[in-house]
Subunit: 507 residues, 2 copies
């Protein structure tokens, strides 16, 4: 197993940031079972009851047509669809339990489902920040800089969306510039936004061009994903549904994520919020399977709570942790891949940002999630994409990558000869067993400073967030754009120019 070993210095060149190599991560440990089988079934049954008796609003006529044709009970006036339990269970059983999303660089493909775990960047923050330039609304320059950083961090598997919204670009053509940058600045998989049909069809076409596929080939290979947020409670908006239909028609991956904050968009009790989340997720998954049976989907859980004094959303709370662990159980109940998140509500990259993130991350990992959205960079409950937070999160994610490597137990690692050689009261620094292994024996952190207090203080007493500034700047300095066929760049640029001439997507 290669570790993040101390970087090599080549004459005249700066030392590179030592980090783990890119690798697929498998979670070998059994997930935490928080709910009993009976409790899980109780939540499952409650969700089916909601779907049968209350139903879900689908705010798009075309969606209601599809639902009605597939057997749901549709009320055109209220735009509600109600579902027999059998219809739900038959539909969701058509979704694959595991699938691969292809990147333009085959080494960057990601596998979703079963024991695979993937870490995505922060997505959709309106603002960005770093210690030197401060907090500011996102621009296209920030967007591209965050993309370059995400490309450089090996433990980040995928671009989970626009890390920051480039608010200086016009809304109608923003998606064209953004998707172009996601393809050119990174060779990792990326997400499209389901904000109406045009943005998705443009994104699909650009993804197709980037991989040099025919339209028929593309339908056989998943190469892009979107996230469908349910407008909780029990409502799915028209633009989301239009995007979902387009993605499913093309057999592209869809993450379904109800937005169920206890006490605001969901009941104040966790069990109720989970029942509602489950009903909403199952409704959207069922709908996706009605559009195209076999559409690859991910069951997303985002249940947390609000601060009842202010109504502000809270993340990484005990309620959030328990909801995530329980949501993982629900996803496994249906044999579906599970999405969780790395979240926090802190206003700065301090201890609170760290513990809220790490509570939510442990729940994501121990809950068996296969896709960790906002894995790197999320701050302020999603209002900020932070450069320093991205490095801090990379440290947390690298730690998990190493924790998830099982302990090797064999006669060599049990080291009985070394223990005998050293003997009582000795030390292992000079033992041959140690000398043969010490370089790669342990994880080398990105950020942790293990020097003693005096040395640390004399060299500036930097806190972790200050060290993170140095690391992100170093990584950006190391950035090189991943190789791409110039003909593909030309084809992409042609497409973007044509679509811009045609006015882009309606805003």
């Amino acid at each position: 197993m290669k570790k993040g070993r101390p970087a090599k210095r080549t004459r005249g060149q700066p030392v590179k940031v030592a980090q783990l190599p890119w690798r697929r991560i498998i979670n070998p440990y059994p997930p935490v079972e928080l709910l009993s089988v009976d409790e899980l079934e109780h939540i499952h049954s409650a969700a089916l009851e909601i779907l049968e008796c209350d139903g879900v609003e689908f705010l798009l006529e075309e969606a209601l047509d599809i639902l009605q044709a597939a057997g749901a009970e549709v009320d055109r006036h209220s735009k509600r669809a109600r579902f027999e339990p059998g219809l739900i269970l038959e539909s969701i059983a058509k979704a694959p339990r595991e699938f691969v999303i292809r990147a333009r660089n085959p080494k960057r493909d990601i596998a979703l489902g079963r024991k695979n775990i993937n870490f995505a960047t922060v997505a959709s923050a309106p603002n960005t920040s770093d210690r030197e330039r401060g907090r500011r609304p996102g621009t296209f320059a920030d967007f591209e800089e965050l993309l370059r950083l995400a490309q450089m961090i090996n433990v980040v598997h995928t671009i989970g969306g626009y890390p920051v919204e480039p608010t200086d670009l016009p809304a109608t053509t923003r998606h064209l510039d953004c998707v172009r940058s996601m393809i050119l600045l990174s060779d990792k998989t990326f997400r499209l936004y389901a904000l109406g049909r045009a943005r998705i069809t443009d994104g699909l076409e650009m993804a197709r061009i980037s991989r040099g596929l025919s339209r028929e080939e593309m339908i056989r290979e998943v190469c892009v994903y979107t996230n469908i947020n349910v407008n909780s409670p029990l409502r799915i908006d028209g633009p989301m549904l239009a995007g979902l239909i387009e993605m499913a028609t093309h057999n592209q991956a869809i993450i379904i994520t109800p937005f169920t904050l206890c006490g605001a968009m969901a009941p104040v009790t966790l069990a109720g919020a989970l029942a509602q989340q489950n009903a909403e997720a199952l409704a959207a998954i069922t709908f996706a399977q009605m559009v195209r049976p076999g559409t690859p989907i991910v069951y997303g859980g985002f249940t947390s709570n609000v601060d009842m004094k202010s109504g502000a959303p809270a993340f990484g709370t005990p309620e959030n942790v328990k909801a995530t662990l329980a949501s993982g159980q629900l996803a496994r109940r249906y044999d579906l891949p599970f999405r969780a998140s790395n979240t926090n509500s802190s206003n700065t990259v301090d201890a609170q940002a760290t513990y809220e993130s790490l509570f939510s991350l442990w729940a994501a990992v121990m809950g068996g999630s296969t896709f960790v959205q906002h894995g790197a960079g999320w701050l302020e409950g999603g209002l900020v994409a932070s450069f320093e937070k991205m490095i801090l999160d990379a440290e947390l994610l690298q730690n998990f990558a190493e924790i998830l490597v099982p302990i090797r137990v064999d006669s060599e690692t049990l080291a009985l000869d070394a223990i005998r050689e050293v003997g009582p009261g000795g030390h292992f620094f000079g033992a041959s067993h140690t000398l043969a292994r010490y370089r790669d024996a342990f994880y080398t952190p990105l950020l942790s400073d293990w020097r003693n207090y005096e040395t640390w203080r004399e060299s500036g007493a930097q806190t972790t967030d200050q060290r993170a500034t140095l690391v992100f700047k170093k990584l950006l300095a190391e950035y090189e754009p991943p190789a791409i066929d110039p003909a593909i760049v030309e084809a992409l640029d042609d497409f973007v120019a044509r679509r811009k001439d045609a006015g882009g997507a309606e805003s």
Copy 2:
């Protein structure tokens, strides 16, 4: 379930710090099984082989006498004892799987073993620090202030030792002053130091006086504990052994903790370090059972790694996490209560301190530990007891206390009526189901600031460590000494005066 609700304001009185009430904590979730059954048996067998072929040094003649009489193969010249596997297994089977340590206030009793989990303070730091007074060698005044703080924090179950060493007190009588303060300033259980026989006998006598027991009664009730560190590799020092014998003779609790840092005092490979840790722990547990069958013991794991560049110990690392999870499996293999720790190597209360602590804490909790040493206040790899870190850790521990409360799933919490009442696109803020429950619905944090960025910035942009200063000062201002019978205080003072007159313990 009572939550840390917003504190009540009484006319003219300051608002009290809102915290969770004192309570016993049960860990209802199954622990993480990191090693397969075969791997676990492999480590078990390797440990038995070490004990049979290499043995352990016991640097006390009296201990060698006890070992020889009980059937170990003793080499007087090398001071080594070797053990047949059968002797080890028979001996450790005599230790109880569960026991209670009594406090002078019966409400503060702690149960160890099975699903119980208890959080202890930091122990044995030579220095202390807080943001306003800086980093400094510990004094008796600091010692007492940290004790008062530990007494005030409800989620801290026990005083895990001297939070800081009072370096201004003479070594020969320090234990008398310290134990007196632990008894008077707190009504929680506490630890004695096994630094020779005299300190333990003094401490036992003071604990006996504090609870008003006869010597016979004390042997029937565990009311104090110690920690025996193995001087790894494979050596137990004389003063530790003398203290161990005294504690076991009086049926008091003993935590056995090998100090196995991979690459320094143990093999560089985790499997080897675990095999050695296991051998050392089993040897000491066996010895304790030879002194007195049934002696309550705890299997301690403290395996982490060193920084191979500097030799500095590292904590909260992936290696530390995996070693803790595996150590929990080993302890359960022998049906013994398990001790882990909350550790970090950071030089300040920042993100690194938080993530290293939280990685080690998650491992302690998911590894099924029953006693979490250094649960609150540890900084700089144990060189500092930090006031702010104690508050930060209290926040982390409170989060775990809430995470470990199972989700209630019944028709009331599933809230189907509320979901129907609110309907698609509505919100739950005003729902009767919410209004009846919102006050106690969610955990109220000690430290997290959930206000929006603008409000937070305008009110001073305080980071978490700055807020922690306010909280610890407020808690100290709220401190009131727990009630105690004046006759007990008098008896304690008499004892201390007599022992000081006699010169205390040899230093």
